[in-house]
């Protein structure tokens, strides 16, 4: 399995390097940059949901906190963007710790609702705390990020930078999974009783993963703020949290690549839908962007009903089926379990 992941990772890097040469359109590069932000948050969420088996419908809150911390510290207090992002990380670590300890004692549905409630509260604060967050109009004049003295100015530069961060995020996630800590998490997911009988401190691990996933989300939010250079509460409502869960669930809960695929597919979906709206019009369906929500829900439902392991497992399984079919045809016994 690890061999497949390394191969996938290399293919991923190559794709990142090559894509801007194929796609010359700044608009689509921009869409892909936003996709990278979603990817990053989803990887963290995948570690929490797929490996530690905990639900959070509130990760949008951590994205918001990262974004707003970066925005406030850079535009109002003239901090360096990197330092502001670091500060955002520290803040979410503290908050995730404070919420995590009581929340992670709760089971399934309780935790889901608690995180949903938390995300709603953060959104309300973002709208209402006008002095701090700028209220509904938000914060403007957020500076761009600079790297080694050079400011990231073009969409293409930001593309490489953000997907580079995603690649690093994937690297960390895979290292963690294939480690004592990662196995501990999967053990908790498999059987909490057995895991604790082997010396694993369940609550401690859950809180640590919760914090780590919050850090991923916070970085994602900060990068977003530095890219768009202004933020308002609009994108940070409850729908964002639900969207992140949707991406991870659709892509494949139990595998990092699943989260990446889910984020990419659902981030590009609106573009795809508006692209084919022309064709839909021909067969009599007048597609409007308002229908997006309906399509998201429909896709999520269909995947959850028929392909609950997500697209990734579906592809993986399909490839496996194809492989064993060819092996059978070639007369060699296929090693299937």
């Amino acid at each position: 399995m690890k061999g497949k992941n390394s191969a996938g990772f290399i293919a991923f890097i190559i794709a990142i390097i090559v894509i801007p040469f194929i796609i010359n359109n700044d608009y689509y590069i921009g869409v892909l940059v936003f996709t990278a932000f979603n990817c990053l948050a989803c990887i963290g969420l995948c570690l929490l949901m797929g490996y530690a088996g905990q639900i959070s419908i509130g990760h949008g809150a951590f994205v918001a906190i990262g974004a707003y911390t970066s925005a406030i510290l850079t535009s109002k207090l003239a901090w360096s963007p990197w330092l502001a992002m670091l500060c955002g990380i520290v803040i979410v670590v503290v908050i995730a710790f404070c919420i995590g300890i009581p929340a992670l004692r709760l089971k399934g549905h309780y935790l889901a609702m608690a995180t949903l409630g938390f995300a709603s509260i953060i959104h309300i604060v973002a709208v209402a705390a006008v002095d701090l967050t700028g209220g509904p109009s938000g914060i403007v004049s957020i500076p761009r990020l600079g790297l080694f003295g050079h400011v990231l100015s073009s969409d293409t530069q930001y593309f490489y930078f953000s997907w580079g961060v995603v690649a690093f995020g994937i690297y960390i996630a895979f290292n963690l999974i294939n480690s004592r800590v990662g196995r501990g998490l999967q053990a908790i997911h498999g059987s909490e009783d057995a895991a604790s009988s082997l010396g694993i401190n369940i609550t401690s691990y859950k809180v640590k993963v919760f914090i780590l996933s919050a850090v991923y989300a916070s970085v994602s939010g900060s990068l977003y703020a530095y890219y768009v250079n202004y933020i308002d509460p609009g994108p940070f409502d409850v729908m964002l949290s639900i969207l992140l869960v949707t991406m991870v669930a659709v892509g494949g809960l139990h595998h990092i690549w699943g989260a990446v695929i889910g984020a990419i597919v659902l981030s590009l979906l609106p573009e795809f839908l508006s692209f084919i709206s022309g064709y839909l019009q021909v067969i009599g369906i007048k597609y409007q962007p308002d229908y997006d929500t309906l399509v998201y829900g429909g896709i999520l439902l269909i995947i959850m009903l028929f392909l609950p392991e997500g697209i990734f497992k579906g592809i993986d399984g399909a490839i496996g089926n194809v492989k064993s079919f060819f092996l059978k045809v070639a007369g060699r016994p296929s090693r299937r379990v």
Binding site: G108, A112, D290, L294
Partner: protein, 301 residues
Amino acid sequence: MNFTDGSIADVLQFLFMGIQRGCIYAMVAMGFNMIYNSTGIINFAQGEFVVLGGLMMVTLTMALNLSIVFAFILSMFFVIIAGILMERLTINPVKQPTVLRLIIITIAVSIIIKGAAMCFWGKGSHYMHHFSGTEPLEFFGATILPQTIWIIAILLLLVAAYVYFFNYTMTGKCMRACSINRDAARLAGINDRKMVMLSFALSAGIGAIAGIIITPIIQMDYARGAMLGLKGFGAAVLGGLGNSMGAVVAGVLLGILEALGAGYISSHYMDAIALVILLLVLFIRPSGIFGSSEAMRLKEF
């Protein structure tokens, strides 16, 4: 809107406002409890039933000019069908129901309903005629809307119907049996699948009623489901998950606390107040006011 003179009239005013909203939270909480009792899952789409009920009522009364009673029944019927469809299509067929999977499924349904509502009714808010006029009634210096009296009356009726149904009808007793011990109920000949479907139908119906009676006051729009659902859940947990009578008390209490908070602390953060209470309950005493912690641990989820 900060009242610091502390007069009785102000307190009463907030009390009435709180009761008005609280009754709705109570109904949403009852809906949550019904499905929770029969299946052990929390239906994230509960808030959307409320929205559907309200919006359907608007269309039937304002656009099609049907009488209130007739439209009430039709709207309820419509939402109940939606609830049954949800159970039949998305809950019943699931062969390997894990917590995560069921939660995401109910979230998916809530997204679909919300999206459909947006498509049919647009993004604006919709007004509906009050049941019996808009002239507020005076009461010790505070005013109360006739619609609020309707809300209180209907909640009391619902509570009475609930008590009657679950204690004095065969079907109701079967549902209770199912929720206590599903296998034993099956062995006794009760069709537990039907009971689950019934619980969804009833839950949708209650949600619809809540939506219908509150729409004249708050003007329903497609996006209200999430917040109503969250607060209703807060009421359900506060009253002890699974305990519908506790939910009624907790719902009204939650509404009153929210209104008092809005009046005396800040109205901008009004929604946040109920949510903070939800979080506090979950973190400090998840079994709620009327639940027992032992009983809570026995339920799977």
